[in-house]
């Protein structure tokens, strides 16, 4: 004869779980194992019966329920609810979209980003200053040598 069912196998037997055929055969033939399973189930059944004693009078219970039902079937409310949430969600989306659009329009187009100069401006200005500081700038030496009288005579000729 095979050995008795272990605790897990007995638990499995108590809940109607699967047992290997050999173990099932043992259970069917073993008074001790069957008694162990039955004893537990009897304890549970005793406790369940205590709960049955607490159950209400079912006619009264039914009357309480029927007496508290709303007079109008709930279907119209539920249909309204079914559409209400998607409708509110759509309205909120449109409102947000329109609001955002108006805000963008009011603010004007975003300014184009300023291109970063490849040569530093300070460097260019420094080069220009150094050139202007030199006396002998090409094509400007004529003006350097001219006298005020010459200039007056020249301007008087152009005006006449």
């Amino acid at each position: 004869m095979s050995h008795h069912l272990d605790d897990h196998e007995l638990a499995s037997a108590a809940v109607g779980g699967p047992l290997e055929s050999e173990r099932l055969a043992h259970l069917e033939g073993c008074v001790s194992c069957r008694r162990s399973v039955k004893l537990f189930l009897d304890h549970v059944e005793n406790r369940r019966r205590t709960m049955e004693e607490e159950t209400p009078n079912w006619d009264d219970h039914l009357a309480e329920v029927l007496g508290s039902l709303p007079s109008v079937p709930a279907a119209p409310i539920s249909i309204r609810r079914r559409w209400l949430n998607p409708l509110l969600a759509a309205a909120a989306t449109i409102t947000i979209a329109v609001g955002a659009g108006m805000f963008v329009h009011k603010s004007g187009p975003a300014p184009a980003p300023t291109p970063r100069p490849e040569i530093a401006i300070e460097e260019i200005l420094a080069q220009a200053d150094s050139l202007l500081a030199e006396d002998g700038i090409l094509d400007f030496d004529v003006l350097d040598n001219i006298t005020d009288d010459d200039l007056t005579a020249l301007l008087g000729t152009q005006n006449s």
Binding site: S12, F40, H43, N46, T55, A74
Partner: protein, 193 residues
């Protein structure tokens, strides 16, 4: 006289359809079929004292939400789910209000409620009373989920598939939880014969 009373042999689907149309008698027939189940489920969550109002609230909710019942699950499963959610809402409300929470037990621990089999002799009755108290105590040592599944299976007498559907978990998970619960309870009660 309503439509339901003309055809006493209406099946569940027909009763639901009629109740959706406002036939209270048809809904009453559904309540008659399932109020015991709903009450026993509520009993496991909120205890005996609050099982009556909780189960009534659950059944009224079911009526007001009948249009949401699409018939994919059995009506019994659907109404059981509503009962469980109603009880969980009640327990959350209790927690918010700072009232004593009995969600882990659902019992009021009154020894007078441990009613043994009256057919048994005095000694046997005393032994049964002791065993019931030990079992109830041992259930407290289970995890919340194990206790919930154990009670729905053995006290609310739901089958594994119904429990799985009602709690929205796989049947395999229910089997595992139940096995562990029974294994632990058997160990706790080991010396009681």
């Amino acid at each position: 006289m309503t439509a339901a009373s003309h055809q006493p042999a209406l099946n569940e689907r027909e009763l639901v359809d009629r109740a959706k149309g406002g036939d209270r008698e048809a809904f009453g027939m559904l309540v008659t079929r399932y109020q015991r189940r709903v009450w026993l489920v509520c009993r496991q969550y909120v205890g005996a004292d609050e099982a009556d109002p909780a189960s009534q609230e659950a059944l009224i909710k079911a009526y007001t939400r009948l249009d949401a019942f699409d018939g994919r699950a059995a009506f019994s499963t659907w109404v059981t789910r509503i009962a469980i959610n109603t009880c969980l809402d009640l327990l959350r409300k209790r927690r918010r209000e700072g009232l004593r929470l009995v969600e882990t037990d659902g019992d009021d621990h009154s020894p007078s409620l441990d009613i043994p089999d009256e057919r048994a002799g005095p000694e046997e009755q005393a032994r049964q009373r002791q065993t019931i108290a030990r079992l109830r105590e041992a259930e407290e040592g289970l995890s919340d989920r194990q206790r919930e599944v154990f009670r729905l299976r053995f006290y609310a007498q739901m089958n594994l598939e119904e429990i799985a559907d009602s709690l929205n978990v796989h049947t395999g998970t229910i089997k595992t939880l139940l096995h562990r619960a029974v294994h632990r309870l058997r160990r706790e009660l080991g010396d009681i014969r």
